[in-house]
Amino acid sequence: MELALIFFLPFAGSLCAAFLPSNARNAEAWLAGFVALGTTLVIAALYPQVSAEGVVRLNVPWAPALGLDISLRMDGFAWLFALLVSGMGTLVVVYARYYMSPTDPVPRFFSFLLAFMGAMLGVVLSGHLIQMVMFWEMTSLASFMLIAYWHHRADARRGARMALTVTGAGGLALFGGVLLLGHIAGSYDLDAVLAASAQIQAHPWYPAVLALVALGALTKSAQFPFHFWLPHAMAAPTPVSAYLHSATMVKAGVFLLARLWPILAGTDAWFWIIGGAGLCSLVLAGYLAMFQQDMKGVLAYSTISHLGLITLLLGMNSELALVAAVFHIANHATFKASLFMAAGIVDHETGTRDLGRLSGLSRAMPITAALAAVAAAAMAGVPLLNGFLSKEMFFAETIFLDRPDWQRIALPLAATLAGVFSVAYSLRLIHQVFFGPPARDLPHVPQEPTRWMLLPSALLVAACVLVGVIPEHVIGDYLRTATDALLGADAPAYSLAVWHGFTTPLLMSVVALCGGSLLYAVAFARRRATTVPLLEAIDGRRIFDALMTGVTSGAEWAMRRLSSHRLQMQMMLLFAVALGGAALLALSGGIGWGTRPTLPLDPAFALLWVIGGTCALAVAWQAKYHRLAAVAFAGGAGLATSLTFVWLSAPDLALTQLTVEVVTTVLILLGLRWLPRRDERIAGRGGTSPRLRRLRDVLVAGACGLGIAALAYAVLTRPGVDGLAPFFVQASLPQGGGLNVVNVILVDFRGFDTFGEITVLGIVALTVFALLRRFRPAPESMPLPRQQREQAAAGDAPPSRVHGGELLPAGLMMLPAVLARLLLPLAMLVSLFFLLRGHNAPGGGFVGGLVLATAVILQYMVGGTAWVESRLRIHPLYWIAAGLLAAAVAGIGAALAGAPFLTSKAWHGELPWIGELHLSSVLVFDLGVYMLVVGATVLMLVAIAHQSLRSHPHKSVPGALR
């Protein structure tokens, strides 16, 4: 229960904080402070239970199928860390209240801070690996938001992004590692995983697991070579730096390493990866820290260095080193947070953190100076402060390393060197800022900050001193609980005494102190360090930026090769994939011709297809320059197709194909008006490349054509399959009530297809209409066509352009108009004829509708838009809607009677004198088809036709089309 409280308090607080007004600075601070303090107290109160029971647990099932549970688990180590997180959180909140400017929109700040705290507690308290990864990534996100808190600054944005990228990537790697780990252990439960140590180290995946986990941990803890993000994260407000980037979040990496130490450590790989990264970070970051100009920069590099120290300790494969690591985690948190706070105070009071500009502040702000000096001393490892103790343990471990000789010599030397650096930069930090002559041109006049701002720092310094002087009493118990939790029965005995006698480690400490002081005195006392000797060229940020730009441009480069914006390319690929796949399959499976006796070849039919095929080829040949000819050829091919349907017993198809053919021709011609003229003479720039491309296209197209032909032939020569057809033929009359099987299928057996099909038609018509409403013709097709201009210039009256009042179009369209209008009633009758008898003979709603629509279009053609619409009001949209509704109603009618949708209901009756009457819901359905087809076709064609009206607005008639 308490665990749940610990877990929920910060998140709840975060949510509350987000909704406070942006100027509620005090309320925010109170809220956050209470939440943090409350959490701290709850955690503290749990100590007896933890130390007595070892582990406190809370399990809530989440997704058992996935092996996911919400599992909170607090052992000694987690307790120590949780206390660190929440306690430090409390102090930072207090500090931040005074640090943040009154104009800052703090709700966001406190909200994310608390969210971070919750996430960090989540990491620490997770008893389930996946859950831990979740919180791990959430800390990255929170850190991102906090670094970019001042997002109007470019450095903040860049730093945030860098931090997120590096730690997020590490998080994903960790995710992978944990997945493998869980798989090996058979469970993601931390206890189960910890118990599977032997299995894990013996598993072939162990190296992968180690690498992935190390990636996660090292990125998070800013270890070499991923350390570069941390200095850039210093763009965050100082409380954030103090909290996330020194005390807690960066510790998550080492926390994890310590957590998994029992199962992953003990191998050479572990030593080299973890220890190596730690050592590099320790030395390198220490060296770099000496040359920083920014106070926070120094602290950032020193953080990296100290984390390196911890990592190195963890990598040493020794239990005592682990103890030292845990100890140093706590120590580092106290003195580094305190130092950050001091840096923040300096920044806050003077307006700058530049070591070059700051000087002699101890006079104006003595308390700050004193606190900072003590904390820096702890960092340097001065005796009687906590830093000294853990560093001493570290030195001791380097000496007793259980490794080959040269490593046993090299490591202590490197450790001492790092100690020297550490002393030097600590000294530099304090000396340059607080001592020396008073600084002049500072942005603000320095003065001591308010007491409340000093309090957190003071408390931390006090902790440093207390631990340094009486370690066993202050922290001994807790440390032991923590290490026992990690190591269990293997926990070594150790003493936390301040004085161990004259030992090698002590000697190393002394060397480090003296060497560091000397180094500072010689190298830095007079010189302002601006550049980093030796490592000048290596700039993490530049490498990172180059990497990111490289990734982007590399991806762009790859995309240019792997993708294309050209439609031709895509078409080619589509056909090539289909062709290639089919060829592969056909070659491996083999398809021969079948045994079905073929129909005797009719020469007339062959001749028909000589014509059709030639037309098709001619279309391909002419479509570029002679569009009208291409349309004519396509008409020829279409005619051949229709005739084929007639020939091969498909009258319905022939009818439909013919009508569609006509309408399509008109449609394309209507469109032709708006296409640019294309002239063979000017566009015919030859060259080999287009010719080659054409050849390639011809080959692909030819191959595809041949393939389809072969496919068709292979099926045609095989005996038919007794599938659906016999049933349809037999059931057509008795059950479907129609002689025309095709029509019965369309409106009854598979009426649902037709239903969808007419919907498609309606949709397309709507789309066409919508698209043409915003149509903007190309400039050169705006004016009247040349023919009309010429005829107008020659004094020929525009034949069909008349106003509604006149009876007939004048001029040469007069007689065609008379004839066409004679045709209209006839065509209407024919369309009704096809509609009504479709069930028993070729025809049906679709053909009927197209006939009517064509007849209407003919009126437009001969009479002109204005004339026709002045006397004929068609509402194509209503026709479409009514058609759809009629079809739906025909279907629903049956549904109301309890039968499924689209069940046909027929009514037969006998009327006197007239005879048998046959009514069916199928007819209503077909009527729907009819209406929709009329509406959609007319709408599409007329919408295109209206473009001419629109481009000559003075001749338009209002509201002609709806």
């Binding site: 007689l815 004839l819 045709l823």
Partner: protein, 106 residues
């Protein structure tokens, strides 16, 4: 029921008419091919569409009447439609041709 079942009284004239119609259509199309200029060519296909079609339609009427054993005359409609529609195309085509030949001359 197919062409072979048509009684002789209908088959004989129908066959004659069919042959005539086919020949007329053929000659008309041939004219389209052989004549030298467009203005000459435009006359030729009319053969197929008037008398040629007429012959075939009468043949069709004859055979279907014979087969159905009652007068079947709905082919008249086709005649009607052909007659009504033919002038529209021809007129427009002629005008367009005149216009275009005028333009190419000038």
């Amino acid at each position: 029921m197919s062409a072979a079942d048509v009684p002789l009284w209908a088959a004989l004239p129908a066959a004659l008419l069919l042959i005539c119609g086919g020949l007329l259509a053929l000659v008309g199309s041939l004219g389209l091919l052989r004549l030298r200029s467009f203005f000459a060519r435009i006359h030729a296909p009319t053969m197929g569409s008037t008398l040629g079609a007429g012959c075939v339609l009468i043949a069709s009427m004859l055979t279907s009447t014979a087969l159905a054993q009652r007068p079947v005359v709905h082919e008249l409609l086709i005649t009607l439609f052909i007659l009504v529609t033919a002038p529209i195309t021809t007129m427009l085509l002629m005008r367009a041709a005149i216009l275009r030949s005028d333009r190419s001359e000038s």
